[in-house]
Amino acid sequence: MTYQEKQNVVNIFSALVVTPIYAWLVFQRQQHGQFDLREDFRQWGIVFLIYIGISIVARIIIQIIFHIGNAIATQEEKIPSADERDKLVKLKATRNSYYAFTSGFVVSVIGLALGMPVHWIFIAFVIFGMIAEIIDNGSQIYYYRKGV
């Protein structure tokens, strides 16, 4: 497995760990009545902003651990720089994740039109954001293995 493939696996792992843990913590606070996300949309803004901060810090920590672990395992300290093929792979993967997130947005809007509660659109953003990230990294692994 190449360095890029390993990094994508770590990114998928990060998406599957960080987002659900934070969502669970928010859900617990909601259950304990610390805030009401069904009515208070300002609170959603705060939840998302905190999530962005936590997500960035958590991913930096996970990446540092990955780099250290990879350097120990492979005896290679140098991080390979991205060449034209890496950039093309990233571009195509970003396109796929964009399609996934846009589809999620359209599904959410259809849900709203059909009478679903407004707070569901925020939950859909979180879910489809996570799916889009997994598709981004999964696509990169696919293109690295099958060709681009």
Binding site: Q4, R85, V148
Partner: protein
């Protein structure tokens, strides 16, 4: 994923250039070894810039590194 319609002779040219390794070629062409592997396998068509760089490294015309068969470039064949 469809194979590239552009064929290449990089493997042969590497061996004719003093058994140059994929890593040596990658370093000279300023790309990763995986990119050289993908080009040799035909699963990645390099940019024009990289193609010319490879030809320059082998000191040979571009058409000796890469060949294109128009008969293969038929709609629906790929």
């Amino acid at each position: 994923m469809a194979k590239s319609i552009v064929q290449n002779h990089i493997r042969r040219l590497r061996f004719e250039s003093g058994e140059m390794t994929q890593q040596d070629l990658a370093d000279e062409a300023r790309v990763s070894r995986q990119t050289i592997v993908a080009i040799e396998k035909g699963s990645y068509s390099p940019s024009l810039e990289l193609a010319f760089r490879l030809a320059h490294i082998f000191k040979t015309p571009l058409e000796e590194v890469f060949t294109y068969d128009p008969k293969e470039d038929v709609p629906g064949k790929r």
